[in-house]
Subunit: 262 residues, 2 copies
């Protein structure tokens, strides 16, 4: 039922507490975003971190002014405090609560960052006839911490998190072509083949999400992942920060096709 | 010295017997082509074979009329009978001689096909800072017969030949992006990773060319290869046919950059 809603209708239902599930498969065709909310005295540096690390942290939007919960460039009547199903609140890098609404946590100094999400490129891969294993198996995509260091700033430092989708080589090659068209949702894969080369010791034990089947002849294909900022926050320990809860994304009015550079 | 010559100057030296080596590294920036010359009663079917198999047989040019040795669309004053260093003459699918000049073998019913060559995409990969192992090691690229069947016509049938370049995964991903821009010189790789999946039993024993080193952490990356038509000719046994000798290509006046679709 939720796939028939427009993004605005979906956001209003979420705001009213009438939709509380994750947003996978919701509002097909429209861009969904990872969320990072930081106090102003950390926000400029986070913006620089995103600029230095465009593959894991491709920015789709930034709030106009500190303290404003509106994201007018991303869609009609978006109130970032209420329009996602669930949020995670961190203090000093530690998760302190998961809540369906952050109006009580809102502050006048908060800046909002909306970061591209793999849902957009998965849709493009499916539309081309490729199989996405986590979707076929009804699971969350497996994600792993790697030994690939992000370009650090003074306070933000940490390693890249990647998502993995197993594919036959010919499909992996096609996926590189398709994802290259979408730099603002992580772009082309960052690695394929041997997981150990990027510091993953057990492909069947992801650090986030679920394990998926890898069939004979398939290669694991790895994309930079929007969970990277959460990994970085845990290491960088800003005094306060709010993110989306994994899978509960900001659904925007932008179309996935509008993100294609070619 | 030959790298400083224009394509026309190089062709004239070859025609005069003053340059007899292979054309690797000659006239950088300009398109080199594989050659296939067939009698008219086989030529239309070969044209259809190329259309059905654009990755191994990307057509750059076809002679205007049967019997004409000129290829005006590909360059100034090209005489296809004299302007390559060495040719291979086949009868009934069997190599009968390798000669530096085919004026004595020329017939009024011959049709010339110029097919894209990996030299063009290797140049684009090098220009992007990637290493090409066969070039670093001063060898001919390793080529292998595969179990990938070409789309057959009534008389032309056979499996694809591929060339292989070992790369780190990140460079393989970049190579897919770069080569995708060049569909008329084989385009993106057709396979990467496990050679056995495309019927290659020993990566160190290529069917054509030389073996190259594969370093730890590298994947073999496979491209459709312009030697495929020679493999097909051996199986399809046309009564008469002439090809270039491997490495001794037709050097045209077209620029590699002109082949880029993006």
């Amino acid at each position: 039922m939720n796939s028939a809603l427009t993004p605005l209708e979906l956001r209003h239902r979420i705001r009213a507490g009438q939709y509380t599930g994750n947003t996978s498969g919701c509002a097909p065709g429209f861009v969904q975003c990872n969320l990072m909310i930081l106090p102003a005295d950390w926000a400029d540096e986070f913006l620089r971190f995103c600029t230095l690390n465009p593959k894991p942290c491709p920015l789709i939007g930034v709030s106009d002014t500190a303290g404003s919960p509106m994201m007018t460039a991303l869609g009609e009547d978006i109130d970032i405090r209420t329009d996602l199903p669930n949020y995670r609140v961190f203090e000093n890098g530690k998760l302190v609560k998961t809540v369906p609404d952050i109006r009580a946590d809102w502050r006048d100094d908060l800046v909002v960052f909306a970061i591209g999400c793999s849902f957009s490129f998965e849709e493009a891969l499916l539309a081309d006839g490729l199989e996405i294993r986590n979707i076929s198996e009804g699971k969350n995509v497996p994600m792993y911490r790697t030994n690939i260091e992000c370009q650090p700033t003074a306070r933000f430092t940490g390693n890249m998190v990647v998502s993995m989708r197993p594919m036959l080589a010919k499909d992996a090659i096609r996926a590189v072509q398709i994802c290259t068209r979408f730099p603002s949702v992580h772009g082309a894969p960052v690695h394929l083949g041997d997981p150990a080369l990027i510091g993953i010791t057990d492909i069947n034990a992801p650090d986030y999400g679920d394990s998926v089947s890898i069939h004979p002849g398939e290669l694991p294909v790895f994309w930079a992942c929007g969970v990277t900022p959460q990994n970085v926050v845990e290491q960088s320990r800003p005094p306060f920060c709010i993110t989306h809860s994994p899978g509960d994304m900001l659904v925007t009015d932008l179309r996935n096709s509008q993100l294609a550079v070619l």
